[in-house]
Amino acid sequence: MAVQAPPKAERRVAPWPVSFYGTDVGKKVVMALTGLIGFGYVLAHMLGNLKIYLGESSLNHYGEWLREIGVPALPRGGFLWIGRAVLVVALILHVHAAWSLARTSRAARPSDYTKQDYVVANFASRTMRWGGVIVLLFIVYHLLDLTGGQANPDFVRGDVYGNVVASFERWPVAIFYIVANLALGLHLYHGLWSLFQSLGWSHNRFDPMRRSFAGVFAFVVTAGNISFPLAVMTGIVG
């Protein structure tokens, strides 16, 4: 009896990063890694901006130095643009994964409870999505205000110190900065703890420290960032 060989499965398997991103756990891993990139950036951004307290020339010189990093191996401004490209890609992936995961989760609970009492979920964990939207809108405004200058009528390219002062002397802008940074702080507080779970970084030795780690760094970044508009509004800077 002739045995017919089963037809060869002609299933095309997507390359690993694509197929991994296609799973929900994979998307969470991408969210954690891109979130880590974002955290590294906001921490460095805040620390660099502390130079505002050392005076006008210090901050402007720092701004100039950012363009010089890597010269002559890189063209002037090269490092800055590579950094921007990495951040934009990370942000797009972070937002896409969040949007996609939120849709799946919404579909998983088609009808709500008449009443649901949260036992341990905190304000930070429950505002991740809307807090993220606030931070996203803030990033757009922030770039138009202090990077491109389109939203800042007194913008002078290269005068970082003057631009910051001119921006925060408009109190609605300063208030928006403070609110957005509080949202960022909450987002970091939950994200910095959550990423350990998503990446599978759990161990009895350091598990109790994960919350404190998140709390300390979320506080440091938020306090530093909020100090800038407060310093301008109170006349300490400017």
Binding site: W16, S19, F20, T23, D24, V25, G26, K27, K28, V29, L101, T104, S105, R106, A107, A108, R109, P110, S111, D112, Y113, T114, K115, Q116, D117, Y118, V119, V120, A121, S125, R126, M128, H190, W193, S194, F196, Q197, S198, L199, G200, W201, S202, D207
Partner: protein, 253 residues
């Protein structure tokens, strides 16, 4: 004591549901929550109520079978931690209290009738890999495979999962991560679970996602309502093993 129960009534899987108020008289503080429902059902059977008695799942009534489980005033299994609905006693309530009782709500757990949901999705996750393959025959020598005590403790902590579904019910995202993570950790940390560790992880996580559960955002609600106190750390293990599994080439068949 006399209580008012607001209970979800639903005639069938596709029927619309609604909350109905009932008065239950003569509840004593030593009754369990399920016995209170029994008491109400006794009066409903005798009455000419068109909805009839309230359907709810139950079996052992000693907190180990995983059959019972309802949302009580918005908390899965009610206000007492580490307790199944059957082990919740009425001493937590006062005369005149109103208690809201709803079924688990999840796209993957359709309501079959009243407070009964179909948790077949959990069975399908288990069937996809929640086992070890062994050669049958006479039982091997018991001490052939040494297991360090901390490892067996970790496995047993996860193996305590009774599959009641409270984690899914309490999760704001309707995710089944804690259940799947418990079933994976149970086998993945033991020597007997190693040969199929990554195939198992891949298969069970993929099965979980295919069932239409949501995604873990690390609120921790599942751990808080779990009657067996399965730790949230098992979910980190699930993620770690799934990342590793995805990096390994799938088995050629």
């Amino acid at each position: 004591m006399n209580l008012k129960l607001r209970v979800w009534r639903q005639a069938g899987i596709d029927a619309p549901g609604r909350l109905v108020d009932y008065r239950v008289e003569g509840v004593t503080e030593d009754m369990s929550f399920l016995e209170t429902l029994d008491l109400l059902n006794e009066s409903l059977i005798m009455s000419d109520d068109p909805d009839g008695p309230i359907s709810f799942d139950h079996d052992c009534r000693e907190g180990i079978c995983g059959q019972c489980g309802v949302m009580i005033d918005g908390i899965a299994h009610g206000p007492q931690r580490a307790t199944t609905t059957c082990q919740l006693h009425m001493r937590h309530y006062r005369d005149g209290d109103t208690i809201l009782v709803e079924p688990w709500r999840s796209a993957a757990f359709p309501v079959v009738r009243d407070l009964v949901v179909d948790r077949g999705a959990f069975d399908r996750i288990i069937a996809s890999g929640g086992y070890i393959s062994v050669a049958t025959g006479s039982a091997p020598e018991a001490n052939l495979t040494p297991v360090p005590r901390p490892v067996s403790d970790e496995s047993f902590t996860a193996a305590a999962c009774i599959g009641c579904g409270a984690c899914v019910a309490a999760c704001p995202n309707g995710a089944a991560q804690l259940f799947t993570a418990a079933k994976l950790t149970h086998l993945n940390v033991l020597p007997q679970g190693q040969p199929e560790r990554y195939e198992r992880t891949r298969a069970m996580v993929d099965a979980m996602e295919a069932e239409g559960f949501g995604n873990c955002t690390n609120h921790g609600e599942c751990e808080a309502v779990c009657p067996k106190e399965i730790p949230l750390g098992t979910i980190a293990k699930l993620n770690r093993d799934y990342i590793r599994a995805s990096l390994r080439a799938p088995a050629k068949t």
